[in-house]
């Protein structure tokens, strides 16, 4: 690419369907489409098996009835609705839980090496927030696992099956911005090859944002370095809304100092958290299920222990996760990856010593709002309507099945169920003649603007320090606990950071594997997501799920039993109704959420 590239200078590569992102949701979508014979391409900024799905550990939660033959997807649905603190869409949660078993068995048929019970069926372990009989029958073991490497096993299995079906992969290609036609329909993206710097317009009838989360907006996160919210940011820049952006999950057990995830499966297998006195403090906060309460509940309890001076270590700033009582055999068989990570990053062997952990940013419940077919929607004049050509799936999307707090093991299920659903819908739509009109040269040029601006830069700010500033700001003002006056400060800081983000200096203009260019664009993407998060968090004057306000400590169903919808053009929040109309069961009405 040149410093300034015109639409006429770049080539157009045309596909029926284009999937941005080669993680679990992207490759489940592409698999469905490749099988249908549509010309499908996956655009991934890393080789697909390097995507962040690979880091998922504990499992995929689904009522397949293996640990308990009487298990029921309706119980899973109830748990998910409750876990979401009642702002998950119940039509979508119903679809997730009822279609789930089909999607999980398909993965097994594709070769996923699930761990097994003695009878040969898929191994399931207990996870937080999972109950039997609508919360009345005690803890459920519903999370299907491949040891503690379920994400790795799932991602590799999906990649392998995409090879089998002949999916086109544009590996190490980076999507920059959405291209829209005059009717505000999405016709593809501008992207470049990281390896050579070749720039192209990737044209498609259906563009799926499967770009995962953006945990890198925070200084401390379990997320991979690549989780920069690219798809969501592209949609925001194109003027499309984001939903529930204030809802960020802080996972209770990130390794202190390193941020690497320690699976909830540790507590599922019998591990528990202790404070500096060796007290199993979760007994006080969640007397019934203790360490297996919802993640938001456990994370907040940990922070309170630390704030009240009962944290562990020299600075009393972390908590211990105790596993040694489980014994070497259980740890080696069920949690081998955790033993490895703990030794590498915490310098402790969990067979003998507890792991130092701290709540760490983990998952974005919000995202591009979609229906259960993955179709993104926009709100124009107070009416929600589908955006032709634009889809989203997985963490980048907000269907919404996780509402205000995601349950462990539900993200992998989300990926495969809605990746599959999105693929099926696109197939149907394109085969029945649906599609979008072509974009003009001017439309394409408009989408090249941001990249050109960066490529033309001859002065300005360096990427790395600005990124740190952004991450510190989000960590300080929009973390586990939030307060209006602090957030006002944070919003002011963000205003200053925006100016820097818009004026980055790309010193290195070379084309071959220029990671500086990629990182500059990623920072701009992070900023879009961070700003949406900050504005949404400041607007929701209540505490619900992962969103905990010091100044509004109660849940307020009268005013806030709704989604927040962020409009990137006016930078304002409006409210959107939660779906309470599942088709096969009665809706679960909001009740006080205790564990």
């Amino acid at each position: 690419m040149n410093n300034s590239t015109l639409a006429k200078d770049i080539k157009t590569i045309e596909f029926d369907a284009l999937i941005i992102g080669g993680g679990g949701s992207g490759m489940r979508t592409s698999l469905e489409l490749a099988k249908s014979g549509l010309k499908t391409a996956v655009v991934s900024k890393v080789f697909p098996t390097r995507s962040h799905t690979v880091s998922a550990q504990g499992g995929i939660t689904c009522a397949i009835g293996s640990a308990d033959p009487d298990d029921d997807w309706r119980w899973h649905m109830y748990d998910t609705v409750k876990g979401a603190d009642f702002i998950g869409d119940q039509d979508a949660i119903e679809y997730l839980c009822s279609e789930g078993p089909k999607a999980v068995f398909e993965l097994e048929h594709m070769g996923l090496p699930f761990s097994r019970f003695e009878n040969g069926r898929i191994y399931q372990r207990p996870f937080g927030g999972q109950s039997k009989d609508y919360g009345k029958g005690g803890q459920a073991a519903r999370t299907c696992a491949a040891a503690d490497r379920t994400g790795h096993a799932l991602l590799h299995t999906l990649y392998q099956n995409n090879i089998k079906e002949g999916t086109n992969f544009l590996n190490e290609w980076f999507a920059v911005d959405i291209v829209k036609n005059s009717k505000n329909e999405v016709t593809g993206v501008i992207a470049f090859s990281i390896e050579y710097g070749e720039l192209a317009y990737l044209k498609s009838q259906a563009t799926v944002m499967a770009t995962g989360g953006a945990g890198r907006i925070y200084a401390s996160t379990t997320n991979a370095l690549i989780n920069t919210g690219d798809g969501l940011a592209m949609a925001l820049r194109a003027g499309f809304p984001a939903q529930d952006m204030e809802m960020w999950q802080f996972h209770p057990t990130g390794i202190y100092g390193a941020g690497s995830l320690v699976t909830e499966g540790c507590r599922g297998e019998g591990g528990y958290l202790v404070n500096k006195d060796g007290e199993r403090f979760m007994e006080r906060y969640a007397p019934n299920v203790k360490d297996l309460a919802g993640r938001d509940v456990v994370a907040r309890s940990m922070v309170l222990e630390i704030l009240e001076g009962r944290g562990c270590g020299e600075n009393k700033d972390h908590i211990f996760l105790k596993l040694d009582h489980l014994g070497a055999d259980v740890l080696n068989a069920k949690l081998p990856g955790i033993c490895e990570l703990s030794k590498t990053f915490a310098h402790v062997d969990p067979i003998y010593e507890p792991i130092p952990v701290v709540p760490t940013c983990h998952y974005m419940m919000g995202g591009t709002p979609t229906n259960i077919h993955g179709q993104a929607f926009n709100r124009v004049n107070n009416i929600d309507s589908v955006v032709p050509g634009l889809f989203a799936a997985g963490e980048a999307a907000c269907v919404s099945v996780h509402g205000a707090n995601r349950l462990g093991g539900n993200s992998l299920l989300d990926l495969v169920v809605f990746g599959r659903a999105t693929g099926m819908h696109i197939q149907q739509e394109l085969k029945s003649g649906g599609g979008v009109e072509s974009a003009t040269k001017d439309d394409i040029e408009a989408s090249l603007q941001r990249l050109n601006h960066l490529n033309e830069s001859s002065s300005g700010y360096e990427t790395a320090p600005v990124k740190k500033e952004l991450q510190e700001c989000m960590q300080n003002y929009f973390g586990v606990f939030r307060r209006g006056e602090f957030m006002e400060k944070g919003l002011k800081e963000l205003d200053e950071i925006r100016d820097k983000v818009n004026n980055l200096h790309l010193k290195d203009k070379s084309n071959a594997f220029n990671t500086s260019r990629v990182e500059a664009i990623e920072l701009q993407n992070l900023f879009e997501v961070a700003e949406a998060t900050a504005i949404a968090a400041y607007s929701r004057n209540e505490s619900r799920g992962a969103h905990a306000r010091d100044d509004f400590p109660e849940r307020d169903d009268d005013n806030w039993l709704c989604h927040s919808l962020y409009d990137p053009i006016s930078k304002t929040i409006s409210k959107r109704d939660v779906n309470f109309s599942p088709s096969q069961v009665e809706a679960f009405p909001p009740v006080v959420r205790t564990y």
Binding site: R50, F114, S115, F117
Partner: protein
């Protein structure tokens, strides 16, 4: 040189600017605590943003940042600098034997091509049951030590046989995966898989040098898997001879 300075010698090559690759020396204050080689690279890149390397998960599960660290292949993100420093020096080079795109980034096309060649997906044409295919814990345990491969290429690029014949010798990483599917009781294409590996190069170019075993950052043992394939090939040949009568 003072003992709180660390000298990093890094392989640099940008095809648009450099006729030849060269080693560039960076001096950096020794970090107060032990950090990973990847963290060291981040620090260096903050000072010189033209440095290029791959990275993603930064916890040893995605396989992006395989490189040659003081002469040994490994993942930068899980290699503490304390374990590799020699006389206050660290030398960083790209994985050996593959074409270099830029700096520490290699072209892995050949490596992936070998992976695809072994048909790395479960093959079972029988009608799938409504639920999962059953597999005993014992049979599932046969996949342990095989399925965990992260495709980082540390093993194959440390293997002299792969350096010589990257197009014909499948290499330790892909052979480990070949055996992962041969060992899976749910896969029914054992016979075809073995036939496709029976030429003089695919498997038999392995001479048990064992570099793969010492390089693997996940402590897997491709050499053992290759041994298993060789004995399967051998007993398969015996069966063919037996059923053909004469050969």
């Amino acid at each position: 040189m003072s003992s709180n300075t660390l000298e990093v010698s890094m392989y640099r090559y940008n095809p648009e600017q450099d006729k030849f690759p060269y080693m560039k020396k960076y001096s950096i204050e020794k970090p107060a605590r032990d950090i990973m080689v990847l963290d060291l690279l981040h620090l260096l890149k903050e000072g010189d943003d033209s440095i290029s390397y791959r990275r993603s998960c930064r916890e040893g599960v995605c396989g992006s940042d395989g490189m040659n660290i003081n002469g040994k292949n490994g993942l930068a993100c899980i290699t503490p600098i304390s374990s590799v420093i020699k006389k206050d020096k660290i030398e960083l080079r790209p994985l050996p034997g593959l074409p270099v795109i830029r700096d520490l980034v290699v072209d892995m096309t050949q490596f992936y091509a070998q992976y695809e060649k072994i048909k790395p997906f479960l093959q079972n044409d029988t009608t799938a049951p409504e639920q999962e295919r059953l597999q005993s814990p014992e049979d599932r345990a046969k996949l342990d030590g095989l399925y965990e491969c992260i495709l980082c290429a540390c093993c194959s690029t440390s293997c002299p046989s792969f350096w010589w014949n990257p197009d014909k010798f499948v290499g330790p990483a892909a052979l480990l995966q070949a055996y992962r599917f041969l060992a899976d009781t749910r896969d029914l294409e054992t016979q075809n898989r073995l036939e496709e590996l029976s030429d003089p190069f695919s498997v038999y170019r392995c001479h048990g040098i064992m570099n793969c075993v010492s390089a693997c950052p996940k402590s897997l043992n491709p050499n053992k898997a290759i041994g298993e394939i060789k004995s399967m090939l051998l007993s398969n040949k015996k069966q063919v001879i037996a059923s053909d009568g004469v050969r």
